[in-house]
């Protein structure tokens, strides 16, 4: 019953919105192929792949990638077990204790990343630990654990508790019930949580900025290149990262759709 005009307007609006969303990314990616010292598309000089060669030969970039990957792996290793255990704990609690713990567990998601970085930096410095990527790892864990916990909790709420009770009644130990029933059930969530945690860590800038010491990560590398001597090499890196992100986002969304309850 909506009028044709209203429908036309909103469709046009949506198209504009999508253009707004993707045009900047397309421009940025295209500029990676322009043979111009300043990254742009408007005076188009010539097609070139030299920025990719430069990127490939850039040792600082590779150092950043290595660091980001290492921090990402460390974060996943810490965050998945802690998130899973605290999710299990929260799932068994009721009442005021549960609400209180829940609030504490999601609070880090509402805190700006710079403040997480600062508090981590000061806390560990007081204990005599200097800044560096180990502090970036801890700082990132403090809020990425919240995501893992929420994903675990969401899946646990759909777990048929009688399965566990039956296992315990039939003589399984608590460890067996966890290993044979709860963990297999949680597996898909834990896998997606691990991927998400890695990405969150890899993308992190704010928390890393304050805790890194003098170490370099991919995001720090990009930011410092943009501020001091930007060349289309940054765009080439952008293209690679966006490519990886699109693949990951599509796989993640399709997977999530397929393991959502019917």
């Amino acid at each position: 019953m909506e009028s044709k005009l209203a429908r036309g307007i909103i469709t046009a609006y949506l198209v504009l919105f999508l253009v707004y969303l993707f045009m900047p990314l397309v421009i940025m990616v295209t500029a990676a192929f322009n043979d111009s010292r300043f990254p742009t598309v408007m005076p188009w000089k010539a097609w070139t792949l030299r920025w990719f060669d430069d990127l490939w030969a850039d040792d600082r970039m590779w150092g950043g990638v290595l660091n980001s990957v290492l921090v990402g792996i460390a974060v996943v290793v810490i965050v998945v077990p802690i998130g899973a255990l605290s999710g299990l704990l929260l799932d068994s609690l009721r009442g005021r204790v549960r609400s209180f713990l829940y609030a504490l567990m999601v609070a880090p998601l509402l805190v700006p990343g710079v403040i997480i970085g600062i508090s981590t930096l000061i806390f560990w410095n007081q204990l005599g630990v200097p800044s560096g990527l180990h502090l970036s790892t801890i700082g990132q864990c403090s809020f990425i654990t919240s995501y893992v916990m929420l994903m675990v909790l969401a899946r646990l709420q759909r777990l048929d508790k009688s399965l566990e009770e039956a296992a315990l009644d039939l003589g399984a130990s608590h460890a067996q019930a966890l290993r044979l029933i709860v963990l297999p059930y949680l597996r898909p969530s834990l896998m997606t949580a691990a991927v998400l945690a890695f990405f969150q860590s890899f993308e992190n800038f704010n928390t890393t900025l304050f805790t890194r010491g003098s170490a370099n990560t991919v995001t720090i590398f990009i930011a410092s290149r943009i501020r001091t001597g930007v060349t289309p090499e940054v765009n080439a890196l952008g293209l690679v990262l966006i490519g990886i992100t699109i693949v990951a986002a599509v796989v993640y969304s399709l997977r999530r759709r397929s393991d959502a309850p019917a």
Binding site: A107, P112, I222, G238, L241
Partner: protein, 307 residues
């Protein structure tokens, strides 16, 4: 187990957990939660706040008469006019970016939730997820290219004859606000979409059949239902904007800094960590006030926010 459902008694709940997981596992669960919440969240914040009330001392002066609690670090914000203006700008700019995101996102969210066919909604959601995942720095950087003085936006406008000479887009806070709206808009679309999606279409039909004009259907039916989503979107965008370092660093003009940049300066250029901590706490306080105000205004709880 049944009487535990009603109980508020802590021991009863612990017993519940114990009977479900046994001593060892329960111990591991409590320990992991403790390490996370106390070691990574509560203690670091407490230490930071404590630090913010301390004077910035040379190592030799620690433990002497000069080593006492003080409000000086907080007073600095009100004594230093430039910093105070930056604080206000951060507050106002974040609020403006939040409001713009809300205005632009609402029609998109409504279309996705109630007007598009399910297949089209699925495709569009998948499309929207992509910028959501792409690094904030790269999204900001793309506007750095577009808005450059000799960049494509000025180029196209000149080609079309709309402007005679290029416009300096990256002056004042313009670039920062534009960049923030772009960087955080997806944080607004998804929660509002999720909220509107649960609205029964019959309510909209009924309002329409009773002759309500379009704006009134939205004002009286859709928006009230979308409140939790709007609150979540606003909270996410505001805290992201107020706490953003990279958007102002890339798109800000030299004279218009953001509060996070001042904090960074205290830490790494001024080497005055207590002062930086005080400013960090003020920023956190600003965000907390905003979150509380939104939760009050839209009557939502923490459980609605973290989804």
């Amino acid at each position: 187990m049944a009487d535990c459902e009603y109980g508020q008694d802590r021991h009863c709940h612990m017993k519940d957990v114990l009977s479900r997981y046994g001593t060892t596992l329960t111990g591991a669960m409590v320990l992991a939660t403790f390490v996370w919440l106390v070691g990574m969240v509560i203690l670091p914040y407490l230490v930071m706040v404590n630090y913010s009330f301390r004077p910035n001392l040379l190592p030799a002066d620690i433990g002497t008469d000069k080593d006492h609690y003080t409000l000086d670090n907080y007073a600095t914000l009100f004594r230093n006019e430039i910093h105070f203006i930056v604080f206000l700008r951060t507050m106002w700019g974040s609020a403006l970016a939040t409001f713009l995101c809300l205005c632009v996102s609402y029609p998109v969210a409504y279309y996705l939730a109630k007007m598009a066919t399910p297949a089209r909604t699925a495709t569009l959601l998948l499309l929207l997820v992509i910028p959501f995942w792409i690094n904030e720095i790269l999204r900001t950087y793309s506007w750095f290219i577009i808005l450059a003085y000799n960049g494509p936006l000025n180029g196209v406008l000149r080609l079309l004859g709309i402007i005679a000479s290029p416009i300096r887009w990256l002056s004042g806070s313009n670039g920062v606000i534009m960049g923030m709206v772009y960087a955080y808009i997806v944080f607004m679309v998804f929660p509002i979409y999720n909220a509107i999606e649960t609205l029964d279409r019959n309510q909209i039909e009924a309002a329409r059949d009773l002759g309500a004009p379009l704006w009134r259907i939205h004002w009286r039916v859709v928006i009230p239902h979308a409140k939790p989503g709007i609150a979540v979107g606003c909270i996410t965008v505001f805290t992201a904007a107020a706490g953003s370092y990279i958007v102002p660093a890339i798109l800000g003009a030299p004279g218009t800094r953001w509060f996070t940049e001042i904090i960074y300066q205290w830490f790494f250029e001024g080497q005055n960590w207590p002062q930086g901590s005080a400013y960090a706490f003020l920023l956190l306080f600003l965000c907390i006030v905003f979150v509380m105000a939104m939760m009050r205004l839209f009557k939502v709880g923490l459980a609605d926010i973290a989804r």
